[in-house]
Symmetry: C2
Subunit: 271 residues, 2 copies
């Protein structure tokens, strides 16, 4: 089911700036029993990202109502919210008076989403290097060709995710996940000042670590650091926490820290 | 007028990957008396860019027919062609069997397009720095948020264009134009191996210089190099050649080389 500006129609204007320039933002979230999970956090991320692009975000109650409408008949589903700057004439400039377009849709959770939490996932290192753009780093905008190119590097359905580095060889994230390592009883995750998307689940892991007195460094990680970690796990709002069991051909043991983080998140109240 | 997949309807699927990820390409071209200018060159650029993204480009005769249809009632107009990978399910991966979406539209030339060729233009240096992505450099893809952010840096209608540098401070291009300098009787233009869009008119200038025995270096240019040039001009398929008469506050004299390049292009047969 898909709602465009609140209406059950599957089309947008061919002059929408979301299409023309990727001039918009999106977030993907889980819904359970017709209710979006961690809605307040997701809306905060949308609000942050909209502010970076100086686009007007629709009100929280409007979007939440549409999210509930698209997932009302599903026990568990994946919800996607896109907000673009709206339709406009040709040319990069905007007036600030454009009417944003909102596209809210729901679909089934991708196969393996839940099972991978137990079994762990096989991941590969991608050849594509992420570009550095501090003006857009952390924002989940619609310019996602790098993710498309990286995802096209493999066809093997056994590989659940690809890990991306920047041009300096620093590990940044998966194509659709944020990455954490566990080492010597502490956690670490890459800083996202130059590229990458700052996801809600990454934030939840960092906050949970703080509450439980476990150090979580936001830092620079090389591929060697990741290979040398005790544990590696990937997170996003659908997956939750996926332990890595195969790191670009190196077998890994999903360990105690990863299971602990899964428990932390499982116990969280998302009110 | 706008044609989507050949039909006169102004909408696309809300699940189009052009919207979701900017997974597509575009080109803008001039049309005169109902006929696209330099069609073969533009189609070649589209074909190059489609190959980089591994998307199936519609046949040249199909696209050209649609271009002619949208501009048939105009003496002079701006034509925009967008080709996306088409609609698809959520997720970065694609099968390769998607049906591309084509959007062909025409509109009036922006005000000043022709007059600026004589008067010259005022340009500014943008604060935004272009990111480096060799896998996409030169391609006119739909991930254009950097251009949107850069264009939003100024409101003054007297300023026709903004110049963009990369993170190393190398001058790359305008937000919607390619840049040339003239110095000591030779031309130079930035290399586009790491960022920027390789336009048809840039190519025409380089080829015309070759035919006329004028050196044209494709090289690294600093802002200091541009400030120190005898002449600076900007090119794209609508503008043709715009002499720069004010370079971020420095008055410049549109000079002989710029006028010569305008004559070269004006004399070209676009058969």
């Amino acid at each position: 089911m898909i709602l465009v500006d609140g209406e059950p129609r599957p089309e947008i204007s061919a002059t929408d700036r979301g299409l023309a320039y990727g001039d918009g933002i999106f977030r993907t979230l889980a819904a359970s029993a017709g209710r979006p999970c961690f809605w307040t956090r997701h809306y905060s991320k949308l609000a942050h990202d909209a502010a970076v692009l100086k686009l007007q975000l629709p009100r929280a109650d409007v979007l939440e109502g549409e999210v509930r409408a698209v997932c009302k008949d599903h026990e568990a589903c994946a919800v996607k919210i896109i907000v673009t700057r709206g339709a406009g004439p040709r040319g990069y400039s905007y007036t600030g008076h454009e009417r944003p377009t909102r596209i809210v849709s729901a679909g089934p959770l991708p196969p393996g989403t839940i099972g991978n939490r137990v079994s762990g996932v096989k991941v590969r290192l991608c050849a594509l290097r992420l570009s550095a753009q501090p003006a857009l780093a952390g924002v989940k905008h619609l310019n996602r060709l790098e993710n498309v190119l990286a995802r096209a590097e493999w066809q093997d359905p056994e590989i659940a995710e690809g890990i991306l580095c920047d041009a300096q060889g620093h590990v940044i994230a998966g194509t659709m996940t944020n990455l954490f390592i566990g080492i010597d009883g502490a956690l670490a995750t890459p800083g996202l000042e130059r590229c990458g998307v700052a996801g809600v689940t990454r934030e939840r892991v960092m906050e949970a670590a703080g509450r439980h007195g476990v150090a979580c460094a936001v830092t620079t990680l090389s591929w060697t650091d990741v290979l040398g970690a005790d544990e590696v796990f990937l997170v996003n709002s659908l997956a939750g926490v996926w332990p890595v069991r195969d790191l670009d051909g190196e077998p890994r043991t999903p360990g105690e820290m990863t299971r602990t983080v899964q428990q932390w998140l499982g116990q969280e109240d998302d009110a």
